[in-house]
């Protein structure tokens, strides 16, 4: 039982990751694809942050009252990743607006149909 619970954080991460992957793969609407992409990104944040947590530790802000802190390194990496993720989403949204201007639709299949004609 403890062995199952010991890896539960990874499993939650994997479920989120697979949900994001499914949305990106199965849905044709581009905005929905971007939402799926951001969900995939958040699962990666969780993948980095959850191993850095130390049971019984506190947030890594040095104080005399505590002597056990969680690992600060993943926090730094993920701070960078969040900001880069927003830049990605913003660029994707701009592309969606341009595609809508050029084709009048944001559905994958309809754009393909127009290309074929």
């Amino acid at each position: 039982m403890t062995e199952i619970l010991a890896n539960l954080n990874y499993w939650v991460t994997i479920v989120l990751m697979i949900s994001g992957l499914y949305i990106v793969a199965a849905h044709g609407n581009m905005i929905k694809k971007l939402v799926g992409l951001s969900i995939f990104q958040t699962s990666v944040y969780l993948l980095f942050l959850s191993p850095g947590k130390i049971l019984g530790g506190t947030a890594p802000i040095i104080s005399k009252d505590f002597d056990l802190y969680s690992n600060p390194l993943p926090h730094v990496l993920i701070l960078t990743a969040i900001v880069v993720g927003v830049a990605t989403i913003a660029l994707g949204m701009a592309l969606v607006v341009r595609i809508h201007e050029a084709y009048g639709t944001i559905e994958d299949d309809e754009v393909h149909d127009m290309e074929r004609e």
Binding site: A6, I54, G57, H75, I78, L79, I82, V83, A94, E101
Partner: protein
């Protein structure tokens, strides 16, 4: 908390208010991050993920059609691919170290050095700030470069959308 987040994600797949639900999902994820002791990350996620992304997506939704067409292909192939990937990933977690122990390899590398020496070397009690701005300052420089490039890309892509749209509307009015 994590189960609530998963619940939010499953709902956002079914419902049509995807954007609002993704904002809620980001906020739940920020709560999970507080539980995982990553307070700085949680603050950024709440501001950027739940706030800014939602506003961006709503702005785009105002410009484009906000209904999703029904799926044309059957979703069976993506489901099979996703299940295979998930199965392999779960198989990979079996040999990973257990949750929350200080003896795990990732907590024994540079993290103890940062925690012991950052106050003396940088003068900041917040270790995350010290690492971000001092030990890994080049990372942060690269990050700002990425945002700068992203901003330029958005501006280039969107320049002229409004003017073209206005010209198009004027033309339609004069045609009538």
């Amino acid at each position: 908390m994590m189960i609530v987040a998963v619940y939010g994600i499953i709902r956002s797949r079914n419902l049509f208010v995807v954007v609002m639900l993704s904002g809620i999902y980001s906020f739940l994820m920020a709560t999970v991050m507080v539980v995982l002791d990553a307070v700085d990350v949680a603050m950024t996620e709440a501001a950027v993920g739940a706030g800014m992304s939602t506003v961006l997506m709503l702005a785009v939704l105002g410009l484009v059609r906000s209904r999703e067409a029904p799926l044309r292909h059957s979703p069976i192939l993506p489901i099979i691919v996703c299940c295979l990937t998930g199965g392999m990933l779960i198989y990979g977690t079996v040999s990973l170290p257990p949750f929350g122990h200080i003896d795990n390899p990732q907590n024994q590398h540079v993290a103890p050095y940062y925690i012991e020496n950052s106050v003396r070397e940088t003068g900041s009690p917040n270790v995350v700030t010290a690492v971000l701005a001092s030990y890994r300052g080049y990372d942060t420089l690269g990050e700002t470069t990425v945002i700068f490039t992203g901003g330029i890309g958005v501006l280039v892509l969107l320049s002229g959308v409004m003017t073209r749209r206005r010209r198009f509307n004027n033309q339609k009015e004069s045609d009538e």
